[in-house]
């Protein structure tokens, strides 16, 4: 579990996050949603240590990530897998080398063992026979899957996904969503997904945190988000007429 306590972050005098308090639970897909510029990505980057918050605590299973030494932080980072918005695959490496990279840096595995593990992870994300391709030779959806394979190669306890569906067609987005959900349940990971995609919110959101103007505005699950009367979240999630219709249909069905 990841606990965030009283987290504040500002850039050049402009406060972006205000006193964030939340928990991301183990074995669940935890979503962070909110408008563009609301501070979702900053929150995620504070949690994984890419930004240093002014105040607050981030506890990875009770271990305070903010105050610990650099070497201890490095150890925790080995337990984190991250899927970036743009995949962030290493251009100069093949698919297989990308997946093997964390293993080659931090384990004493032989080349064969690493290759077996890479093949297992690639198979898990339904990418077989693409080992020797370079990232530039693959599609956006494939790149996301390669990035997931790389993220899970070290058997992480925590998985962070920054807008995993951005730039993908709805069908591929669904494949990625299902994959994230499956591996979260399979490996009992604490998964945190930043998303704008309302499909993801309804489909895979076990625990949803809504950030509004840098504040922890609402928290609940995909069922309660349908029935909530919180104005800001309703305006955000059900912005279009289409989504409003879906919502009223879902509420009618429940009645």
């Amino acid at each position: 579990m990841i606990e965030v306590k009283n987290l504040n972050k500002s850039f050049g005098g402009m406060q972006v996050l205000f006193d964030i308090n939340t928990n991301f639970e183990k074995g669940k897909v935890n979503l962070i949603i909110g408008q563009s510029g609301s501070g979702k990505s900053v929150l995620a980057k504070c949690i994984v240590g890419l930004h240093k918050p002014e105040t607050g605590e981030v506890l990875f299973d009770g271990r305070n990530f903010i105050t610990m030494s650099r070497s201890d932080r490095t150890e925790i980072r080995k337990e984190i897998g991250m899927l970036f918005q743009g995949s962030a695959l290493f251009d100069s490496m093949t698919v297989e080398e990308n997946v093997m990279f964390p293993l080659s840096m931090f384990t004493k595995m032989t080349k064969k063992e690493m290759l077996d593990r890479a093949n297992f992870c690639l198979e898990r994300v339904n990418l077989v026979g693409k080992n020797k391709l370079f990232p530039a030779e693959t599609s956006g959806g494939m790149q996301k899957r390669i990035a997931i394979a790389r993220a899970i190669s070290m058997n992480p306890k925590y998985l962070f996904c920054d807008e995993p569906n951005s730039g993908l067609d709805p069908q591929t987005a669904l494949v990625i969503d299902n994959l994230i959900r499956e591996i979260t349940y399979e490996y009992e990971m604490t998964t945190v997904v930043i998303t704008h995609d309302m499909n993801s919110v309804i489909e895979i959101g076990d625990n949803i945190l809504f950030i509004y103007q840098g504040k922890n505005w609402w928290q609940g699950d995909s069922k309660s988000i349908i029935t909530t009367d919180n104005i800001e979240i309703s305006e955000f999630v059900y912005a279009s007429e289409f989504m409003k219709e879906i919502r009223s249909n879902m509420i009618d069905k429940r009645k």
Binding site: R73, I80, F101
Partner: protein, 247 residues
């Protein structure tokens, strides 16, 4: 002014982190050889071309400006050798390499920054500065002296070719000039300068690449800044090194 001081401070902080123990020696060794190939061996053609022609031009210019009959003919070889070893090869070739290697390093690291590849390394727990920059700096520091020795040799050959083909002097006289009043310390001076310049080129380029913010346009800007700043730094360092060694 405060921005310049801030940048210098940040640069030295970066250099401090770069020289930390590599995560895995095996991977570091592989990266080092890759960088030697990319930064050093791939620069051989441009260095060869520049050196041969510049050596030829230095020799021709010197010969054409020596009207005084009291000056011995071998002076052409002597001046060609001195200019090549003391300034042309270490300084001018380093300036050329600042353009080629500097822009390459800054744009490579800058692109990694804006495509979040550096963030990915950091999240994995990899010291991204040490992983990316240390092999580049060591690769340049180790291989640039080889390039400069190669450049000196080709420059002198270029000078010899231009003089003998144009019939301005004989091979014997040119070779005598080259060997006349030769100090080994001149080579040491050239190599020390080269090592300093290699460090400047790659570390400055890495600094601008690593701290790139924004998009593709900013990568281009970082690359240009890296070349300009490293060229200026080379000229300033050259001045002080010349003061230290020759005076």
């Amino acid at each position: 002014m405060m921005k310049i001081i801030g940048n210098i401070g940040k640069y030295f902080q970066m250099v401090w982190v770069v020289f930390s123990k590599p995560e895995k020696w095996k991977i570091f060794r592989k990266n080092l050889f890759d960088e030697i190939e990319l930064i050093g061996i791939n620069s051989i053609p441009i260095v060869a071309l520049m050196s041969t022609f510049m050596g030829g031009v230095i020799a021709l210019q010197t010969a054409s400006n020596m009207d005084n009959p009291l000056l011995p003919e071998y002076t052409v070889g002597y001046i060609t050798r001195s200019s090549t070893i003391l300034e042309f090869s270490p300084t001018i070739i380093s300036l050329i390499l600042a353009g080629k290697v500097g822009s390459n390093v800054a744009s490579e690291i800058g692109t990694m920054r804006i495509t979040e590849q550096i963030d990915a390394l950091e999240i994995m727990g990899v010291n991204s500065l040490s992983y990316l920059v240390l092999p580049k700096i060591l690769g340049a520091v180790l291989f640039f002296p080889v390039l400069i020795i190669f450049s000196i040799g080709l420059s002198l050959i270029g000078g010899w070719l231009s003089l003998t083909l144009s019939g301005l002097t004989s091979t014997e006289t040119y070779v005598f000039g080259i060997r006349f009043f030769f100090f080994n310390s001149d080579i040491v001076y050239a190599l020390v300068k080269t090592v300093v310049f290699a460090f400047i080129i790659v570390s400055v380029a890495s600094y601008y690449g690593y701290y790139t913010k924004g998009g593709a346009l900013d990568v281009g800007r970082s690359s240009t800044q890296a070349v300009v700043i490293s060229s200026v730094a080379i000229l300033i360092a050259n001045f002080f090194l010349t003061q230290m060694f020759l005076l």
